[in-house]
């Protein structure tokens, strides 16, 4: 998504200190999105968040639930407004919760950019640029490639950006092939001619 600088998955919303995947306590799995407010607004992110899930679905568990953790008063107001607007269009109760954000605990390295890690060829090339796991997790290129592999974004955006990800021509073609094979909106997509 344009304007999203980086994403980090982790744990939050609970009370126990230093949760991890094997000892998550009362926390939930969350995603921290860092964005450029001059390009994308919090309201835009809220709209995408509501689109990505069924807000009336019963939560699977406390670990896997839907929630907005607002980080300041402005976010709280915007979240409440979007919630109220959504509630008007649903007869069933909204189960997605709005809560003040607590401490965010980043998840273990092997959870960061999970889809990208499943694609060995692409992962290896980006990891060669960022041998340090923290740098890799903070990379916008890694976040974008991970997003495309998750069937997000659109073909034109991918074609326009693909040369900015630091990938070789062969790996660019591999990325296009993988998304074209598995994502409906990318079917038939080909690698653009080099600039």
């Amino acid at each position: 998504m344009p304007g999203v600088i980086r994403t980090t998955v982790g744990y939050s919303g609970g009370t126990s200190a230093n949760p991890d995947y094997t000892n998550i306590g009362d926390h939930s799995e969350v995603i921290l999105v860092e964005f450029d407010p001059l390009v994308v607004s919090y309201a835009d992110l809220l709209a995408v968040f509501w689109d990505l899930h069924d807000p009336t679905a019963e939560p699977w568990s406390r670990q896997y639930r839907n929630a907005i953790f607002h980080l300041n008063e402005s976010q709280q107001q915007q979240a409440e407004q979007s919630y109220a607007l959504l509630a008007e269009h649903h007869s069933a109760d909204i189960t997605t919760t709005l809560e003040p954000a607590g401490t965010f605990y980043p998840a273990e390295d092997y959870h960061q950019k999970f889809l990208l890690r499943q694609s060995n060829w692409i992962f290896s090339e980006l990891r060669a640029i960022y041998p340090d796991a923290t740098d890799f997790a903070a990379s916008t290129a890694a976040a974008r490639v991970n997003g495309y592999l998750g069937c997000n974004g659109d073909p034109l955006m991918l074609q326009n950006q693909i040369e900015d990800f630091g990938l070789s021509r062969a790996v660019q073609e591999q990325l296009i092939k993988e998304v074209a094979d598995s994502c409906e909106q990318f079917i038939g997509l080909t690698c653009p001619a080099p600039r």
Partner: protein, 67 residues
Amino acid sequence: MFSGRVKLVLLCAGVLGFAFIGFNSHIASKNAAPKIAIPMATAAAPSLPVIDQAIVKKTESALFALG
């Protein structure tokens, strides 16, 4: 040509002059840019992706659970 006292003064002045020049060159070498050996591995590292070189003046964060 010169008296013994004058020769002694000239000798002392010469010694002090050489000492001053030596001291100055020592200070100059200390102020010069340090020599840093750049490891070959660093020089050969792949360049950062263009998208990661973009300078974003200000960022904000948002936190969601999407189970």
